[in-house]
C-alpha cells in the first residue's frame, strides 16, 4: 500500500469491542448483586461457548483463528446474551442460544461484519420461541441474590444436579404483569405495579439506569453515535406517552416502558450493533425509531413478555432498504429525496 500514517494509536475492532465490554460492567455488576452466582454461570457459560463455537467455526471455514479470536466481538455477543437470558439459565439453553447466535447468526452469513441480523438477538429469539417456559422464569432477586441463593441451587438449576427449587422463586416480570393486566381488562392499579416497589420493579429500574450509565459513557467515547439511542428512546416515549395520555388506567406510563425490560440495554448496546444497524444518519434514526415502535407494540399487544429481540430483528430486515434510500447528500450534488 502506498501510504504511511501519522497517528500511531488508531482504534481497532478489538478496542471498540473492549470498550463495549467496559460499558457493560455497571449493569453486569448490578445483575451480579441481584442474581449472584446465577449471573456468573450465565456469563461464564455464554462466553466460553461463544469463544469455543467461534474457534470451531473459524476452523471449519478455514479462517485464521488468532485475529478473530482476539477481536472480542464474539465475547460481546456472548456477554449480551448472558445478561439477556434469565439468571440461572440451564447450560443447554445457553449452548443452544449461543449456537444459534454464532453458527447461524454470524458464521453462516460469512462471519464478522457480514451478518444481517444481530447475532445475540437471533440466539435469544430462537430459545425464546423454543423454550418459552425457561425463558420467562426470572428468579426473584429477593431470594436469588448473592446473599440468599447458595451454590447447590446453582448446580441444580444450571446443570440439573440435585433438586431445583425454581418454582418457588421465579415470577413474572413487571412488564409481564402489565401486559397481562391489559389483556385481562384490568387496570394497572389492580396489579399493584408502582415504579418503586421492591424488589421486582425497582430492581429493573436500577438495572436500566445502570445500562443507561454505561451507554452514556459509550456515547461520550464516541463508540456509538447518538442517533440510535435517542431515536429508540424517543419513539418509545412518544408512542407510550400517547397511549398513556389516552387511557392512563390501562396503558403503562412512558417512564415505566423506559425503565423496564431491556429498553436501555437494547437502546445502547443491542440496536447500536454497527454490523446489523443502518449506517446513514437518517437511516439510523428511522431504524431505531422503528425499533421503539415495535417494542411498544409487541410489549402491549404481543404474546411475549419483552420485545427488544423481535423488534431489533424486524428492523434489521429493513436496514438494506433504509441504507439505500437515506444516503446523505454528497458534496457538489443537489439534494434528492428519492434516488
Amino acid at each position: 500500500m502506498s501510504r504511511t500514517h501519522t497517528t500511531l494509536t488508531r482504534p481497532d475492532v478489538a478496542l471498540i469491542m473492549r470498550q463495549v465490554l467496559y460499558a457493560l460492567l455497571p449493569g453486569t455488576a448490578l445483575l451480579f448483586y441481584l442474581y449472584g452466582f446465577g449471573l456468573l454461570s450465565n456469563l461464564i457459560l455464554a462466553c466460553l461457548s461463544a469463544w469455543g463455537l467461534e474457534a470451531l467455526m473459524l476452523h471449519l471455514r478455514r479462517r485464521p483463528l488468532r485475529p478473530f479470536l482476539q477481536d472480542y466481538s464474539v465475547i460481546v455477543t456472548g456477554w449480551l446474551l448472558a445478561v439477556s437470558l434469565p439468571a440461572y439459565a440451564p447450560w443447554w439453553l445457553i449452548l443452544i442460544a449461543m449456537s444459534f447466535a454464532v453458527v447461524i447468526g454470524k458464521h453462516l452469513y460469512g462471519g464478522l461484519g457480514q451478518n444481517p441480523f444481530n447475532p445475540a438477538m437471533l440466539g435469544y429469539a430462537a430459545v425464546l420461541v423454543s423454550f418459552p417456559l425457561e425463558m420467562t422464569r426470572w428468579p426473584d432477586p429477593a431470594q436469588s441474590g448473592l446473599m440468599t441463593a447458595d451454590f447447590s441451587t446453582l448446580l441444580a438449576s444450571v446443570f440439573g444436579i440435585g433438586t431445583a427449587h425454581w418454582d418457588s422463586f421465579s415470577g413474572a416480570t413487571p412488564l409481564d404483569q402489565a401486559r397481562m393486566a391489559l389483556h385481562g381488562g384490568k387496570s394497572l392499579m389492580d396489579t399493584g405495579i408502582s415504579l418503586f416497589s421492591w424488589p421486582q420493579t425497582l430492581s429493573w429500574n436500577l438495572l436500566n439506569l445502570a445500562w443507561l450509565g454505561g451507554g452514556l459513557w459509550l456515547l461520550w467515547q464516541r463508540i456509538i453515535s447518538w442517533h440510535i439511542p435517542a431515536a429508540l428512546l424517543g419513539s418509545l416515549t412518544l408512542v407510550a406517552g400517547l397511549f398513556w395520555l389516552l387511557d392512563p388506567n390501562h396503558y403503562a406510563t412512558p417512564w415505566f416502558h423506559l425503565l423496564q425490560g431491556a429498553t436501555m440495554l437494547g437502546a445502547f448496546f443491542i440496536a447500536t450493533d454497527p454490523v446489523s444497524a443502518s449506517t446513514t444518519p437518517v437511516g439510523k434514526i428511522l431504524y431505531a425509531g422503528g425499533i421503539g415502535c415495535f417494542v411498544y407494540i409487541i410489549r402491549t399487544w404481543g404474546g411475549y413478555p419483552d420485545a427488544m429481540a423481535s423488534a431489533v430483528l424486524i428492523m434489521n430486515m429493513a436496514v438494506p432498504l433504509l441504507d439505500y434510500y437515506t444516503q446523505p447528500r454528497v458534496y457538489g450534488h443537489r439534494r434528492r429525496w428519492l434516488p
Binding site: 500500500m1 502506498s2 501510504r3 504511511t4 500514517h5 501519522t6 497517528t7 500511531l8 494509536t9 488508531r10 482504534p11 481497532d12 475492532v13 478496542l15 471498540i16 485475529p67 477481536d71 466481538s73 462471519g111 464478522l112 461484519g113 457480514q114 456515547l219 461520550w220 464516541r222 453515535s225 447518538w226 454497527p274 454490523v275 444497524a277 449506517t279 446513514t280 441504507d323 444516503q327 446523505p328 447528500r329 454528497v330 458534496y331 457538489g332 450534488h333 434516488p339
Partner: protein
C-alpha cells in the same frame, strides 16, 4: 460544558484533526540548492497531468540553463527545461515517483558546473500589465508551469476559461493541510511578495472574465501557520497602495483536508463545486501559492519552472528543513543535504502522511509535483496491520469531507460491482484518505477506490473503442449496401433505357428476361442456355489454341 459543546462533541465533523508535525521542518532557514553543483539530474518527460512531452534534444548534446528540452505542443502538455547547463548523457528509463514503482523516460543531465544561461530563453516581461491574456497564458505554458499543490495540471489550461464563463474570485491555496509538509508555509514566509505578484498576474489573465470588472482574490491559509499569515498580510500591506484589485488573507480552521480545492472553496465562500464540474462553473479559479510564485518568476523574470520548495522531514533525517530544489535532483542527494538519514533502513515517502506515496528507490528524482520528502524510521507501529472485515461502524462516513458512504463504496468496489459504486458517487471521492485513517478494521479503503476508478476508466475507454469500431462497421455495411443498391438501380436504368431504344427487336430475349424474374423453369432454361454458350466458347477457344501454338 454547555449543551452546544456537548452536542458538538457528540456529532463529529467531517475531516480529521491530525497531528501536523509542522514544527519539525520550520525551524531551519530555507536553503537554495544549486543545480550546477549536482552530480546528475534526472528529468522525467512526464511531470504533469496530461500527455507526455516529446523530446527536442538528443543524447550527447550540450544544453543550457533554461533551455526547453521538449516541444511545446497543443493539448494538455507542458515542456521540461534544463535547470542548469550540462551534457545530456542519456535518455533512458529511470525510476520515478509513481505508485506502481515503474520507471519512465528521463533525460539524464550531467551539469558542467558553468550554469550558462540559454540566450534564446524566455524574455522577461516586467511590464505584464500591458499584455493580453493569451500572451500571458502562452508564457505560463512555455515556462512549464503546472499546479504545484500536487495535481500538476498545466496552469495555463486552468487559467484558460471559456469566454462566456464569468469569474468572480481567484482563490490562492495556502492551506497546506497535510501533516509533515511545510514547503508552502515557508514559501509564504519568505516569498510572500512573489506570491502576491503571481496572483496579480493571474488576475490580469482573468480580468476579461470578471463581470462588471470585479474580481477578488482570497488567500486561504490554515490557522496553524500564524507566521505565514502575518507574512502574507505584511506583503499585502506593502502592495495595498498599488493593487487595483482586492486581496484578502483568510485564516481557515486547521482540519484535514482543508487544502483540498473543493474543501477550501467551501470553507472560504460557502459554495460547493458541482459534481463533475470545475470551480470555474461557480465563478472561481483556484491556484496554489507555489504556482502563483512560479507564474511571477516566469512572467516577470523570464525564468521557467526549474526549481521548487521541497520539505525534507521525518524522524529519520538529521536536519529536517525546507530547500529550494532543482527539478531532477535525486531524492538521495536531497536527503544528504538535510544531514542524511539517521538509520540506514528508513522509509522514504514523497508527499504527506495522508496522500503521500512510498518511494521504491532513493534514486527517484524530485519533480514538479514533489512537495515533501519524508524520511521515517521503520517503527513497528507504522507497519501496516492486516485488515479485518468491515464492521460497518460508519466512522469513515463521519470523516468523509465529501459526505460519501465510504463503507458502501468499499463494499461495491470489493465485489467489483462497478455500476453500483458509480451510483454511490465513486468519482466524487478526492482520495484524501480520511476514511482509511479512521477505519478500525485498517482496511486500505482508498486503494480500493483507486482500483475501482482505474477499472471503470479502462472499461469506459474499451467501450468507447468498441463503440467506434461498431459505428465504423455499421457505416461500412451501409456503404456496401448502398453501393450494391446503386449498382442495381443503375443496371435497371440502363436496361430500361436499352429497352426503350429498341422495343421491337429481340422480343424473345425480353420475354426470357421477364421470365427469369417470374418462374424457376424459365430461369433454369436461361442458365442452361448460358452454360451452352459458355461451352461453345470454350470449344472455340480450344480449337483456336493449338493452331496458334503451331504457328509459333
Amino acid at each position: 460544558m454547555s449543551f452546544l459543546q456537548l452536542f458538538r462533541h457528540l456529532s463529529p465533523r467531517p475531516g480529521l484533526a491530525l497531528d501536523g508535525h509542522k514544527q519539525v521542518s520550520t525551524t531551519r532557514a530555507v536553503t537554495t540548492l544549486a543545480a550546477s553543483r549536482c552530480n546528475i539530474l534526472y528529468l522525467p518527460l512526464q511531470q504533469h497531468a496530461g500527455s507526455k512531452a516529446r523530446l527536442r534534444i538528443k543524447a550527447g548534446e550540450r544544453v543550457l540553463r533554461g533551455q526547453c528540452l521538449t516541444w511545446i505542443e497543443p493539448g494538455v502538455s507542458v515542456p521540461v527545461h534544463a535547470p542548469t547547463s550540462g551534457y545530456v548523457s542519456a535518455i533512458e528509463a529511470h525510476p520515478v515517483a509513481h505508485p506502481s514503482g515503474l520507471s519512465d523516460t528521463c533525460i539524464v543531465l550531467e551539469p558542467d558546473g558553468l550554469d550558462e544561461a540559454d540566450p534564446q530563453g524566455l524574455v522577461p516581461l516586467p511590464d505584464y500589465t500591458r499584455l493580453d491574456e493569451t500572451t500571458l497564458r502562452c508564457r505560463i505554458c512555455e515556462a512549464g508551469i503546472v499546479g504545484l499543490g500536487g495535481a500538476v495540471f498545466p496552469a495555463a489550461i486552468k487559467l484558460n476559461v471559456k469566454p462566456d464563463i464569468p469569474i468572480r474570485q481567484l482563490i490562492i491555496n495556502g492551506a497546506e493541510c497535510e501533516p509533515w509538509i511545510t514547503c508552502d508555509d515557508m514559501l509564504m514566509r519568505t516569498r510572500a511578495d512573489e506570491i502576491l505578484a503571481g496572483a496579480r498576474i493571474m488576475l490580469q489573465v482573468l480580468a476579461n472574465h470578471a463581470p462588471d470588472g470585479k474580481l477578488t482574490a482570497l488567500i486561504g491559509i490554515e490557522d496553524n501557520k500564524p507566521e505565514a499569515i502575518a507574512a502574507m498580510q505584511a506583503a499585502l500591506a506593502r502592495l495595498a497602495h498599488s493593487a487595483p484589485h482586492t486581496f484578502r488573507v483568510v485564516p481557515i480552521p486547521t482540519r484535514y483536508p482543508a487544502g483540498g480545492e473543493k474543501q477550501l472553496i467551501q470553507q472560504l465562500t460557502g459554495q460547493e463545486v458541482p459534481s463533475g464540474g470545475r470551480p470555474a462553473d461557480i465563478g472561481m479559479i483556484c491556484h496554489n501559492v507555489a504556482t502563483a510564485r512560479a507564474i511571477y518568476r516566469a512572467v516577470v523574470l523570464g525564468e521557467p519552472l526549474m526549481s521548487r520548495y521541497v520539505t525534507v522531514t521525518g524522524d529519520g533525517v538529521r536536519e529536517p528543513a525546507n530547500f529550494e530544489v532543482p527539478v531532477g535532483m535525486p531524492v538521495e542527494e536531497l536527503v544528504r543535504h538535510a544531514g542524511g538519514m539517521l538509520e540506514p533502513d528508513c522509509t522514504l515517502t514523497m508527499g504527506g502522511s495522508m496522500m503521500g506515496m512510498a518511494l521504491h528507490s532513493p534514486q527517484v528524482p524530485v519533480v514538479k509535483a514533489t512537495n515533501c520528502i519524508q524520511v521515517q524510521r521503520p517503527v513497528p507501529e507504522r507497519q501496516p496491520t492486516p485488515p479485518m472485515p468491515c464492521i460497518r461502524c460508519g466512522r469513515c462516513a463521519e470523516a468523509c469531507p465529501m459526505s460519501l458512504l465510504p463503507q458502501q463504496l468499499y463494499w461495491h468496489a470489493r465485489a467489483r460491482e462497478l455500476e453500483q459504486a458509480e451510483t454511490c458517487h465513486l468519482f466524487d471521492c478526492i482520495e484524501c484518505g480520511c476514511c482509511t485513517h479512521v477505519c478500525p478494521s485498517h482496511i486500505p479503503l482508498v486503494s480500493y477506490y483507486r482500483f475501482a476508478k482505474a477499472d471503470i476508466r479502462s472499461k469506459r475507454a474499451a467501450r468507447t473503442l468498441a463503440d467506434q469500431a461498431r459505428t465504423r462497421h455499421a457505416f461500412r455495411e451501409e456503404r456496401l449496401e448502398r453501393a450494391k443498391r446503386e449498382r442495381a438501380e443503375k443496371l435497371a436504368r440502363h436496361k430500361a433505357a436499352v429497352r426503350q431504344q429498341s422495343p421491337d427487336t429481340d422480343t424473345a430475349s425480353t420475354a426470357t428476361e421477364a421470365g427469369t424474374a417470374s418462374t424457376p423453369d424459365a430461369r433454369q432454361a436461361a442458365i442452361n442456355a448460358a452454360l451452352e454458350r459458355a461451352k461453345a466458347k470454350k470449344a472455340a477457344l480450344a480449337k483456336a489454341e493449338p493452331e496458334s501454338g503451331e504457328n509459333a
